[in-house]
Amino acid sequence: MAIADVDDMYFHYPRASLGAGDEGWTLCDISLAVHAGTTLGIVGESGSGKSTLIRVMCGLLHHQRGTVRFDGRDVGDFRGEDSKELRRKNQIVFQNPRRSLDPRMTIRRSLSEPMRALQGRRPDDDELIVSLEKVGLGREVLPRFPHQLSGGQLQRVGIARSLSVDPTILYADEPVSSLDVSVQAQVLNLLMDLRDELGLTLVMVSHDLGVVSRMCEEIIVMRNGRIVEAGRTDVVLTRPESSYTAALLVAARAASL
Protein backbone atom coordinates (compact mmCIF):
# COMPACT_ATOMS: atom_id res chain seq x y z
CA MET A 1 0.00 0.00 0.00
CA ALA A 2 1.18 3.50 -0.76
CA ILE A 3 1.92 5.36 2.44
CA ALA A 4 2.56 8.56 0.50
CA ASP A 5 1.55 9.42 -3.04
CA VAL A 6 1.82 12.35 -5.35
CA ASP A 7 -0.35 12.97 -8.40
CA ASP A 8 0.26 15.48 -11.22
CA MET A 9 1.85 17.83 -8.73
CA TYR A 10 3.28 21.24 -9.66
CA PHE A 11 5.16 23.53 -7.32
CA HIS A 12 6.75 26.97 -7.62
CA TYR A 13 8.45 29.12 -5.00
CA PRO A 14 6.82 32.45 -4.02
CA ARG A 15 7.38 35.30 -6.47
CA ALA A 16 8.56 32.96 -9.25
CA SER A 17 7.81 34.57 -12.59
CA LEU A 18 5.72 32.02 -14.37
CA GLY A 19 5.79 31.90 -18.15
CA ALA A 20 4.56 29.60 -20.87
CA GLY A 21 4.90 25.86 -20.23
CA ASP A 22 7.26 24.90 -17.38
CA GLU A 23 8.83 28.32 -16.97
CA GLY A 24 9.13 29.38 -13.34
CA TRP A 25 7.93 26.05 -11.91
CA THR A 26 10.38 24.20 -9.68
CA LEU A 27 8.47 20.91 -9.91
CA CYS A 28 6.33 19.84 -12.87
CA ASP A 29 3.96 16.99 -13.37
CA ILE A 30 5.25 14.87 -10.48
CA SER A 31 3.53 11.56 -9.82
CA LEU A 32 4.92 8.90 -7.54
CA ALA A 33 4.01 6.47 -4.78
CA VAL A 34 6.02 5.49 -1.72
CA HIS A 35 5.17 2.01 -0.44
CA ALA A 36 5.27 1.24 3.26
CA GLY A 37 8.44 -0.50 4.37
CA THR A 38 10.36 0.13 1.17
CA THR A 39 13.24 2.42 0.35
CA LEU A 40 12.96 4.93 -2.46
CA GLY A 41 15.96 6.73 -3.92
CA ILE A 42 15.67 10.12 -5.60
CA VAL A 43 18.63 11.01 -7.80
CA GLY A 44 19.43 13.94 -10.06
CA GLU A 45 21.73 16.94 -10.25
CA SER A 46 21.70 20.04 -8.02
CA GLY A 47 18.70 22.18 -8.87
CA SER A 48 16.68 19.29 -10.27
CA GLY A 49 14.11 19.64 -7.47
CA LYS A 50 14.93 16.60 -5.31
CA SER A 51 15.03 18.47 -2.00
CA THR A 52 12.03 20.61 -2.89
CA LEU A 53 10.03 17.48 -3.65
CA ILE A 54 10.60 15.90 -0.25
CA ARG A 55 9.78 19.17 1.50
CA VAL A 56 6.46 19.29 -0.36
CA MET A 57 5.77 15.68 0.61
CA CYS A 58 6.40 16.50 4.28
CA GLY A 59 4.08 19.47 4.14
CA LEU A 60 6.90 21.98 4.73
CA LEU A 61 6.20 23.61 1.35
CA HIS A 62 2.79 23.88 -0.29
CA HIS A 63 2.22 22.83 -3.88
CA GLN A 64 -0.04 24.80 -6.20
CA ARG A 65 -1.47 22.07 -8.43
CA GLY A 66 -2.17 18.38 -8.16
CA THR A 67 -2.40 16.22 -5.04
CA VAL A 68 0.03 15.13 -2.35
CA ARG A 69 -1.28 12.56 0.08
CA PHE A 70 0.11 11.01 3.22
CA ASP A 71 -1.56 7.83 4.45
CA GLY A 72 -4.40 8.39 1.97
CA ARG A 73 -5.15 11.88 3.20
CA ASP A 74 -4.39 15.16 1.41
CA VAL A 75 -1.50 16.94 3.15
CA GLY A 76 -3.48 20.21 2.91
CA ASP A 77 -6.10 18.71 5.23
CA PHE A 78 -3.63 18.38 8.08
CA ARG A 79 -4.29 21.65 9.94
CA GLY A 80 -3.64 22.94 13.44
CA GLU A 81 -2.75 20.10 15.81
CA ASP A 82 -3.04 17.71 12.87
CA SER A 83 -0.18 19.41 11.05
CA LYS A 84 2.07 18.45 13.95
CA GLU A 85 1.04 14.87 13.42
CA LEU A 86 1.96 15.14 9.73
CA ARG A 87 5.37 16.53 10.62
CA ARG A 88 5.93 13.98 13.35
CA LYS A 89 5.28 11.11 10.97
CA ASN A 90 7.43 12.61 8.19
CA GLN A 91 10.91 13.34 9.47
CA ILE A 92 13.90 14.65 7.53
CA VAL A 93 17.60 14.08 8.12
CA PHE A 94 19.51 16.88 6.43
CA GLN A 95 22.75 16.90 4.50
CA ASN A 96 24.94 18.96 6.73
CA PRO A 97 24.51 18.11 10.42
CA ARG A 98 26.75 21.00 11.43
CA ARG A 99 24.31 23.44 9.88
CA SER A 100 21.10 21.71 10.86
CA LEU A 101 21.81 21.59 14.61
CA ASP A 102 21.73 24.83 16.58
CA PRO A 103 25.36 25.54 17.60
CA ARG A 104 24.25 27.14 20.89
CA MET A 105 22.15 24.21 22.06
CA THR A 106 23.51 21.18 23.87
CA ILE A 107 22.81 17.84 22.24
CA ARG A 108 20.40 17.17 25.14
CA ARG A 109 18.30 20.16 24.15
CA SER A 110 18.51 19.63 20.37
CA LEU A 111 17.53 16.02 20.81
CA SER A 112 14.52 16.84 23.01
CA GLU A 113 13.16 19.51 20.69
CA PRO A 114 11.08 17.37 18.29
CA MET A 115 9.40 15.64 21.26
CA ARG A 116 8.68 18.98 22.91
CA ALA A 117 7.46 20.71 19.76
CA LEU A 118 5.54 17.87 18.14
CA GLN A 119 4.39 15.79 21.10
CA GLY A 120 4.33 18.42 23.83
CA ARG A 121 6.36 16.42 26.31
CA ARG A 122 9.72 16.69 28.01
CA PRO A 123 11.79 13.54 27.69
CA ASP A 124 14.06 12.59 30.60
CA ASP A 125 17.71 11.62 30.14
CA ASP A 126 16.91 7.91 30.20
CA GLU A 127 14.67 8.27 27.16
CA LEU A 128 17.25 10.40 25.34
CA ILE A 129 19.93 7.81 26.06
CA VAL A 130 17.74 5.09 24.54
CA SER A 131 17.46 7.06 21.31
CA LEU A 132 21.19 7.80 21.32
CA GLU A 133 22.00 4.13 21.81
CA LYS A 134 19.92 3.22 18.77
CA VAL A 135 22.37 5.21 16.65
CA GLY A 136 25.50 3.99 18.43
CA LEU A 137 26.08 6.98 20.70
CA GLY A 138 25.95 7.20 24.49
CA ARG A 139 25.11 9.36 27.49
CA GLU A 140 28.41 11.28 27.26
CA VAL A 141 27.27 13.35 24.26
CA LEU A 142 24.21 14.81 26.05
CA PRO A 143 25.95 17.83 27.64
CA ARG A 144 28.11 18.51 24.57
CA PHE A 145 27.68 21.20 21.94
CA PRO A 146 27.75 20.46 18.19
CA HIS A 147 31.29 21.84 17.74
CA GLN A 148 32.56 19.23 20.19
CA LEU A 149 31.40 16.32 18.01
CA SER A 150 32.69 14.93 14.72
CA GLY A 151 30.66 15.08 11.49
CA GLY A 152 29.74 11.41 11.76
CA GLN A 153 28.63 11.75 15.39
CA LEU A 154 26.54 14.81 14.51
CA GLN A 155 24.82 12.99 11.69
CA ARG A 156 23.99 10.20 14.15
CA VAL A 157 22.46 12.82 16.45
CA GLY A 158 20.45 14.09 13.46
CA ILE A 159 19.14 10.59 12.83
CA ALA A 160 18.37 9.98 16.52
CA ARG A 161 16.51 13.29 16.61
CA SER A 162 14.34 12.33 13.65
CA LEU A 163 13.61 8.88 15.02
CA SER A 164 12.78 10.18 18.52
CA VAL A 165 9.22 11.00 17.49
CA ASP A 166 8.60 7.60 15.90
CA PRO A 167 8.10 8.66 12.27
CA THR A 168 6.43 6.58 9.56
CA ILE A 169 8.67 7.88 6.78
CA LEU A 170 12.25 8.96 7.25
CA TYR A 171 13.49 11.28 4.52
CA ALA A 172 17.27 11.51 4.22
CA ASP A 173 18.46 14.43 2.11
CA GLU A 174 22.03 13.60 1.00
CA PRO A 175 22.73 12.25 4.49
CA VAL A 176 26.36 11.31 3.84
CA SER A 177 27.62 13.63 1.13
CA SER A 178 29.36 15.94 3.60
CA LEU A 179 31.12 13.01 5.31
CA ASP A 180 34.36 11.11 4.70
CA VAL A 181 34.21 7.78 2.86
CA SER A 182 34.85 5.75 6.05
CA VAL A 183 32.23 7.67 8.06
CA GLN A 184 29.79 7.46 5.13
CA ALA A 185 29.99 3.69 5.37
CA GLN A 186 29.11 3.76 9.09
CA VAL A 187 26.13 6.07 8.61
CA LEU A 188 24.80 4.15 5.59
CA ASN A 189 25.04 0.85 7.48
CA LEU A 190 23.27 2.47 10.41
CA LEU A 191 20.42 3.63 8.16
CA MET A 192 20.09 0.14 6.67
CA ASP A 193 20.02 -1.46 10.15
CA LEU A 194 17.46 1.00 11.51
CA ARG A 195 15.28 0.54 8.48
CA ASP A 196 15.30 -3.23 8.93
CA GLU A 197 14.84 -3.14 12.72
CA LEU A 198 12.14 -0.50 12.85
CA GLY A 199 10.40 -1.34 9.57
CA LEU A 200 10.87 2.26 8.50
CA THR A 201 9.93 3.59 5.12
CA LEU A 202 12.98 5.43 3.82
CA VAL A 203 13.14 8.08 1.10
CA MET A 204 16.70 8.89 0.26
CA VAL A 205 17.89 11.83 -1.83
CA SER A 206 21.36 11.25 -3.18
CA HIS A 207 23.53 12.02 -6.14
CA ASP A 208 25.55 8.88 -5.51
CA LEU A 209 24.26 6.03 -7.66
CA GLY A 210 26.48 3.57 -5.76
CA VAL A 211 24.67 4.41 -2.53
CA VAL A 212 21.23 4.31 -4.12
CA SER A 213 21.83 1.01 -5.88
CA ARG A 214 22.89 -0.54 -2.57
CA MET A 215 20.02 0.76 -0.47
CA CYS A 216 16.94 1.58 -2.53
CA GLU A 217 14.60 -0.92 -4.18
CA GLU A 218 12.96 1.84 -6.20
CA ILE A 219 14.50 4.83 -7.88
CA ILE A 220 13.30 8.13 -9.32
CA VAL A 221 15.57 10.09 -11.64
CA MET A 222 14.85 13.82 -11.75
CA ARG A 223 15.96 16.58 -14.06
CA ASN A 224 14.80 20.19 -14.33
CA GLY A 225 11.91 19.60 -11.94
CA ARG A 226 10.55 16.59 -13.79
CA ILE A 227 10.77 12.85 -13.27
CA VAL A 228 12.61 11.50 -16.30
CA GLU A 229 12.62 7.87 -15.24
CA ALA A 230 11.31 5.73 -12.39
CA GLY A 231 11.09 2.06 -11.47
CA ARG A 232 12.90 -0.77 -9.78
CA THR A 233 16.49 0.30 -9.18
CA ASP A 234 18.17 -2.75 -10.70
CA VAL A 235 15.96 -2.55 -13.80
CA VAL A 236 16.38 1.20 -14.31
CA LEU A 237 20.14 1.10 -13.83
CA THR A 238 20.72 -2.02 -15.90
CA ARG A 239 18.63 -0.81 -18.83
CA PRO A 240 18.12 2.94 -18.52
CA GLU A 241 15.53 4.30 -20.92
CA SER A 242 16.39 7.94 -20.52
CA SER A 243 19.63 9.27 -21.99
CA TYR A 244 20.03 11.35 -18.84
CA THR A 245 20.03 8.27 -16.59
CA ALA A 246 22.58 6.70 -18.93
CA ALA A 247 24.79 9.79 -18.66
CA LEU A 248 24.53 9.72 -14.84
CA LEU A 249 25.66 6.09 -14.90
CA VAL A 250 28.65 6.86 -17.12
CA ALA A 251 29.73 9.68 -14.79
CA ALA A 252 29.21 7.54 -11.68
CA ARG A 253 31.25 4.66 -13.09
CA ALA A 254 34.09 6.90 -14.24
CA ALA A 255 35.11 8.01 -10.78
CA SER A 256 34.16 4.94 -8.79
CA LEU A 257 36.13 1.87 -7.82
Binding site: E45, H207, R214, M215, A255
Partner: protein, 321 residues
Protein backbone atom coordinates in the same frame (compact mmCIF):
# COMPACT_ATOMS: atom_id res chain seq x y z
CA UNK B 1 59.66 18.31 -10.14
CA UNK B 2 58.81 17.78 -6.46
CA UNK B 3 60.99 15.70 -4.14
CA UNK B 4 60.07 15.31 -0.50
CA UNK B 5 62.64 13.87 1.90
CA UNK B 6 62.15 13.40 5.62
CA UNK B 7 59.47 16.08 5.84
CA UNK B 8 58.35 16.56 9.44
CA UNK B 9 55.77 18.97 10.80
CA UNK B 10 55.53 19.64 14.52
CA UNK B 11 52.74 21.41 16.39
CA UNK B 12 53.01 21.87 20.19
CA UNK B 13 55.79 19.31 20.38
CA UNK B 14 53.73 16.64 18.57
CA UNK B 15 55.09 15.33 15.32
CA UNK B 16 51.98 15.34 13.15
CA UNK B 17 53.58 14.66 9.76
CA UNK B 18 56.55 12.53 8.91
CA UNK B 19 57.02 11.71 5.26
CA UNK B 20 60.22 9.83 4.47
CA UNK B 21 60.12 10.01 0.76
CA UNK B 22 57.62 11.13 -1.85
CA UNK B 23 58.27 12.20 -5.44
CA UNK B 24 56.14 13.91 -8.02
CA UNK B 25 57.90 13.82 -11.41
CA UNK B 26 57.14 16.58 -13.94
CA UNK B 27 53.84 16.15 -15.77
CA UNK B 28 52.55 13.38 -13.47
CA UNK B 29 49.60 13.34 -11.12
CA UNK B 30 49.93 12.13 -7.53
CA UNK B 31 46.95 11.54 -5.25
CA UNK B 32 47.08 11.95 -1.47
CA UNK B 33 44.32 9.91 0.14
CA UNK B 34 43.17 9.39 3.72
CA UNK B 35 40.35 10.22 6.11
CA UNK B 36 39.81 13.64 7.68
CA UNK B 37 42.54 14.06 10.25
CA UNK B 38 44.93 11.65 8.52
CA UNK B 39 47.30 14.46 7.57
CA UNK B 40 46.75 14.67 3.81
CA UNK B 41 45.73 18.33 3.72
CA UNK B 42 48.44 19.22 6.25
CA UNK B 43 51.00 17.61 3.94
CA UNK B 44 49.76 19.64 0.97
CA UNK B 45 49.76 22.75 3.17
CA UNK B 46 53.38 22.14 4.21
CA UNK B 47 54.42 21.80 0.56
CA UNK B 48 52.60 25.02 -0.27
CA UNK B 49 54.29 26.89 2.57
CA UNK B 50 50.92 27.74 4.07
CA UNK B 51 51.29 26.07 7.46
CA UNK B 52 49.82 27.92 10.44
CA UNK B 53 52.35 29.90 12.50
CA UNK B 54 52.46 27.42 15.36
CA UNK B 55 53.54 24.60 13.01
CA UNK B 56 57.24 23.96 12.37
CA UNK B 57 58.38 22.09 9.27
CA UNK B 58 61.77 20.42 8.79
CA UNK B 59 63.38 18.23 6.15
CA UNK B 60 63.43 19.07 2.45
CA UNK B 61 60.73 19.80 -0.10
CA UNK B 62 62.66 20.27 -3.30
CA UNK B 63 60.74 22.01 -6.06
CA UNK B 64 62.65 22.24 -9.34
CA UNK B 65 65.91 21.89 -7.39
CA UNK B 66 65.09 24.56 -4.81
CA UNK B 67 64.30 23.68 -1.17
CA UNK B 68 60.96 25.35 -0.45
CA UNK B 69 61.42 25.02 3.31
CA UNK B 70 64.48 27.30 3.19
CA UNK B 71 62.67 30.15 1.48
CA UNK B 72 61.53 33.21 3.40
CA UNK B 73 58.02 34.64 2.87
CA UNK B 74 59.09 37.08 0.16
CA UNK B 75 60.90 34.40 -1.81
CA UNK B 76 58.06 31.92 -1.40
CA UNK B 77 55.45 34.36 -2.64
CA UNK B 78 57.31 34.55 -5.96
CA UNK B 79 56.68 30.82 -6.39
CA UNK B 80 53.31 30.37 -4.70
CA UNK B 81 50.49 31.44 -6.99
CA UNK B 82 52.92 31.67 -9.91
CA UNK B 83 54.78 28.40 -10.33
CA UNK B 84 52.50 26.53 -7.91
CA UNK B 85 48.75 27.00 -8.40
CA UNK B 86 45.91 26.03 -6.06
CA UNK B 87 42.34 24.82 -6.36
CA UNK B 88 40.31 24.31 -3.20
CA UNK B 89 37.24 22.36 -2.18
CA UNK B 90 34.45 24.87 -1.99
CA UNK B 91 34.52 27.20 -5.01
CA UNK B 92 31.78 29.44 -3.60
CA UNK B 93 34.03 30.27 -0.64
CA UNK B 94 37.30 30.53 -2.55
CA UNK B 95 35.97 33.27 -4.86
CA UNK B 96 35.50 36.83 -3.65
CA UNK B 97 31.74 37.44 -3.88
CA UNK B 98 32.23 41.18 -4.51
CA UNK B 99 34.68 40.86 -7.39
CA UNK B 100 33.87 40.29 -11.05
CA UNK B 101 35.10 37.05 -12.59
CA UNK B 102 37.54 38.77 -14.97
CA UNK B 103 39.32 40.49 -12.12
CA UNK B 104 39.61 37.33 -10.04
CA UNK B 105 41.13 35.37 -12.91
CA UNK B 106 43.56 38.16 -13.79
CA UNK B 107 44.72 38.78 -10.21
CA UNK B 108 47.73 36.47 -10.29
CA UNK B 109 48.70 37.60 -13.82
CA UNK B 110 48.73 41.22 -12.67
CA UNK B 111 50.69 40.29 -9.57
CA UNK B 112 53.31 38.10 -11.18
CA UNK B 113 53.83 39.55 -14.69
CA UNK B 114 54.27 42.95 -16.30
CA UNK B 115 51.70 42.41 -19.04
CA UNK B 116 49.78 45.47 -20.26
CA UNK B 117 46.08 45.70 -19.53
CA UNK B 118 44.97 44.61 -22.98
CA UNK B 119 47.30 41.61 -22.95
CA UNK B 120 46.00 40.67 -19.50
CA UNK B 121 42.41 40.85 -20.74
CA UNK B 122 43.22 38.73 -23.79
CA UNK B 123 44.91 36.18 -21.56
CA UNK B 124 41.85 36.00 -19.28
CA UNK B 125 39.55 35.34 -22.24
CA UNK B 126 41.92 32.65 -23.49
CA UNK B 127 42.01 31.00 -20.04
CA UNK B 128 38.23 30.97 -19.66
CA UNK B 129 38.04 29.39 -23.09
CA UNK B 130 40.62 26.77 -22.07
CA UNK B 131 38.54 25.70 -19.09
CA UNK B 132 35.63 25.35 -21.51
CA UNK B 133 33.41 28.09 -20.17
CA UNK B 134 30.95 29.46 -22.74
CA UNK B 135 30.98 33.13 -23.81
CA UNK B 136 34.08 34.35 -21.93
CA UNK B 137 33.51 37.97 -23.02
CA UNK B 138 30.22 38.13 -21.10
CA UNK B 139 31.49 35.98 -18.25
CA UNK B 140 34.29 38.34 -17.17
CA UNK B 141 31.68 40.89 -16.11
CA UNK B 142 29.68 38.45 -13.98
CA UNK B 143 29.86 37.91 -10.22
CA UNK B 144 30.41 34.49 -8.58
CA UNK B 145 26.79 34.13 -7.40
CA UNK B 146 25.62 34.26 -11.02
CA UNK B 147 27.52 31.05 -11.79
CA UNK B 148 26.79 27.41 -10.95
CA UNK B 149 29.15 25.43 -8.69
CA UNK B 150 30.76 23.72 -11.67
CA UNK B 151 31.29 27.03 -13.47
CA UNK B 152 32.78 28.55 -10.31
CA UNK B 153 35.23 25.67 -10.03
CA UNK B 154 36.23 26.17 -13.69
CA UNK B 155 36.86 29.86 -12.93
CA UNK B 156 39.11 28.88 -10.02
CA UNK B 157 41.00 26.45 -12.22
CA UNK B 158 41.43 29.21 -14.83
CA UNK B 159 42.81 31.50 -12.11
CA UNK B 160 45.10 28.75 -10.82
CA UNK B 161 46.65 28.06 -14.24
CA UNK B 162 46.82 31.73 -15.28
CA UNK B 163 50.55 32.01 -14.64
CA UNK B 164 51.35 28.64 -16.26
CA UNK B 165 52.31 26.88 -13.01
CA UNK B 166 54.43 23.73 -13.18
CA UNK B 167 52.58 22.28 -10.19
CA UNK B 168 48.89 22.44 -9.34
CA UNK B 169 47.74 21.52 -5.83
CA UNK B 170 44.06 20.53 -5.83
CA UNK B 171 42.47 19.85 -2.43
CA UNK B 172 39.15 17.96 -2.77
CA UNK B 173 38.25 20.09 -5.82
CA UNK B 174 35.05 18.19 -6.67
CA UNK B 175 33.70 17.11 -3.28
CA UNK B 176 31.08 19.87 -3.31
CA UNK B 177 29.93 19.07 -6.87
CA UNK B 178 27.40 16.77 -8.57
CA UNK B 179 28.58 13.51 -10.05
CA UNK B 180 28.21 14.62 -13.70
CA UNK B 181 29.90 17.96 -13.01
CA UNK B 182 32.57 16.16 -11.01
CA UNK B 183 33.48 13.99 -13.98
CA UNK B 184 33.72 17.04 -16.28
CA UNK B 185 35.99 18.92 -13.85
CA UNK B 186 38.22 15.89 -13.29
CA UNK B 187 38.48 15.38 -17.05
CA UNK B 188 39.42 19.04 -17.43
CA UNK B 189 42.20 18.73 -14.82
CA UNK B 190 43.58 15.66 -16.59
CA UNK B 191 43.62 17.31 -20.01
CA UNK B 192 45.15 20.55 -18.70
CA UNK B 193 47.85 18.56 -16.96
CA UNK B 194 48.58 16.66 -20.18
CA UNK B 195 48.52 19.70 -22.49
CA UNK B 196 50.77 21.77 -20.23
CA UNK B 197 52.94 19.01 -18.81
CA UNK B 198 51.75 20.31 -15.44
CA UNK B 199 52.19 18.14 -12.34
CA UNK B 200 49.16 17.75 -10.10
CA UNK B 201 49.06 16.99 -6.39
CA UNK B 202 45.49 15.84 -5.84
CA UNK B 203 44.10 15.52 -2.30
CA UNK B 204 40.92 13.50 -1.74
CA UNK B 205 39.27 11.06 0.66
CA UNK B 206 37.84 9.13 -2.30
CA UNK B 207 40.06 6.50 -3.92
CA UNK B 208 37.63 6.23 -6.85
CA UNK B 209 38.23 9.86 -7.77
CA UNK B 210 41.98 9.46 -7.29
CA UNK B 211 42.09 6.41 -9.52
CA UNK B 212 40.30 8.38 -12.25
CA UNK B 213 42.72 11.32 -12.12
CA UNK B 214 46.12 10.18 -10.87
CA UNK B 215 49.04 8.03 -12.02
CA UNK B 216 50.31 7.41 -8.52
CA UNK B 217 48.82 7.51 -5.05
CA UNK B 218 50.14 7.94 -1.52
CA UNK B 219 47.86 6.64 1.22
CA UNK B 220 48.33 8.76 4.34
CA UNK B 221 47.46 7.85 7.92
CA UNK B 222 48.68 9.47 11.11
CA UNK B 223 50.86 11.77 8.98
CA UNK B 224 52.78 8.83 7.48
CA UNK B 225 52.70 7.44 3.96
CA UNK B 226 51.53 3.90 4.74
CA UNK B 227 51.40 2.77 1.12
CA UNK B 228 52.34 4.29 -2.22
CA UNK B 229 52.60 3.20 -5.81
CA UNK B 230 50.86 3.14 -9.14
CA UNK B 231 47.14 3.79 -8.58
CA UNK B 232 46.13 0.64 -10.44
CA UNK B 233 48.47 -1.56 -8.37
CA UNK B 234 47.44 -0.06 -5.07
CA UNK B 235 43.71 -0.27 -5.84
CA UNK B 236 43.77 -3.78 -7.28
CA UNK B 237 46.35 -5.22 -4.88
CA UNK B 238 46.33 -3.17 -1.66
CA UNK B 239 48.86 -4.35 0.94
CA UNK B 240 48.51 -2.03 3.91
CA UNK B 241 45.45 -2.85 5.99
CA UNK B 242 44.45 0.81 6.03
CA UNK B 243 44.39 0.98 2.24
CA UNK B 244 42.33 -2.21 2.11
CA UNK B 245 39.90 -0.80 4.69
CA UNK B 246 39.50 2.48 2.78
CA UNK B 247 38.76 0.54 -0.40
CA UNK B 248 36.21 -1.68 1.30
CA UNK B 249 34.41 1.32 2.82
CA UNK B 250 33.88 2.95 -0.58
CA UNK B 251 30.27 2.51 -1.75
CA UNK B 252 31.48 2.06 -5.34
CA UNK B 253 29.34 0.65 -8.13
CA UNK B 254 28.43 -3.02 -8.64
CA UNK B 255 30.76 -5.19 -10.69
CA UNK B 256 29.49 -6.21 -14.15
CA UNK B 257 26.29 -4.21 -13.66
CA UNK B 258 25.02 -6.78 -11.20
CA UNK B 259 22.67 -4.36 -9.46
CA UNK B 260 20.34 -7.11 -8.23
CA UNK B 261 22.89 -8.72 -5.88
CA UNK B 262 24.41 -5.35 -4.91
CA UNK B 263 21.13 -4.41 -3.21
CA UNK B 264 21.19 -4.46 0.57
CA UNK B 265 24.92 -5.21 0.80
CA UNK B 266 26.40 -3.62 3.86
CA UNK B 267 29.56 -1.59 3.61
CA UNK B 268 32.76 -2.48 5.37
CA UNK B 269 33.51 0.07 8.07
CA UNK B 270 36.78 1.02 9.72
CA UNK B 271 36.41 0.57 13.50
CA UNK B 272 36.80 3.62 15.73
CA UNK B 273 37.82 6.98 14.38
CA UNK B 274 40.96 8.92 13.46
CA UNK B 275 42.63 9.89 16.78
CA UNK B 276 43.24 13.54 17.63
CA UNK B 277 46.67 15.11 17.12
CA UNK B 278 49.21 13.47 19.41
CA UNK B 279 46.89 10.55 20.28
CA UNK B 280 48.04 8.12 17.58
CA UNK B 281 49.64 4.94 18.98
CA UNK B 282 53.37 4.36 18.54
CA UNK B 283 54.62 1.75 16.09
CA UNK B 284 52.09 1.25 13.33
CA UNK B 285 49.78 4.23 13.76
CA UNK B 286 46.77 2.33 12.48
CA UNK B 287 47.11 -0.59 14.92
CA UNK B 288 44.40 0.49 17.39
CA UNK B 289 41.81 0.40 14.58
CA UNK B 290 43.18 -2.55 12.66
CA UNK B 291 41.43 -5.93 12.73
CA UNK B 292 44.72 -7.69 12.00
CA UNK B 293 46.95 -5.99 14.57
CA UNK B 294 49.21 -8.11 16.78
CA UNK B 295 51.92 -7.45 19.38
CA UNK B 296 54.51 -6.93 16.66
CA UNK B 297 52.60 -3.86 15.44
CA UNK B 298 53.83 -1.92 18.49
CA UNK B 299 57.05 -1.59 16.57
CA UNK B 300 57.13 0.62 13.50
CA UNK B 301 56.87 -1.61 10.42
CA UNK B 302 59.75 -1.55 7.92
CA UNK B 303 58.88 -0.34 4.44
CA UNK B 304 58.62 -3.17 1.92
CA UNK B 305 59.10 -2.43 -1.78
CA UNK B 306 57.40 -4.51 -4.45
CA UNK B 307 57.98 -3.91 -8.16
CA UNK B 308 57.41 -0.55 -9.86
CA UNK B 309 57.73 1.60 -6.74
CA UNK B 310 54.81 -0.03 -4.91
CA UNK B 311 55.84 0.41 -1.27
CA UNK B 312 54.03 -0.25 2.00
CA UNK B 313 54.72 -0.44 5.73
CA UNK B 314 52.63 -3.13 7.39
CA UNK B 315 53.49 -6.19 9.50
CA UNK B 316 50.40 -8.09 8.37
CA UNK B 317 49.82 -7.07 4.78
CA UNK B 318 46.63 -7.93 2.93
CA UNK B 319 46.89 -10.93 0.64
CA UNK B 320 49.54 -12.70 2.76
CA UNK B 321 47.71 -13.92 5.83
Amino acid sequence: MLEIRDLRVHIDGHEIIHIDELDLPAGTRLGLVGESGSGKTMTATAIAGLLPNEAKASGTVRFDGQDLLELNDAEFSKIRGKRIGFVFQDPARALNPMMRIGRQVSESIRLHTNLKRRAVNDKVLELLDQVQLPDPAALVRRYPHQLSGGQQQRVLIAAAIATDPELLIADEPTTALDVTVQEEILQLLISLSEQRNMSVLFVSHDLGVIRFVCDRVAVIYGGHVVETGCVEHVVSDPRHRYTAALLAANPGMPKDDDFASFMGQRLHTIPGHVPAVGKFPGGCRFRNRCEHASASCAEAPMPVTLGDGHRYSCWHPDGES
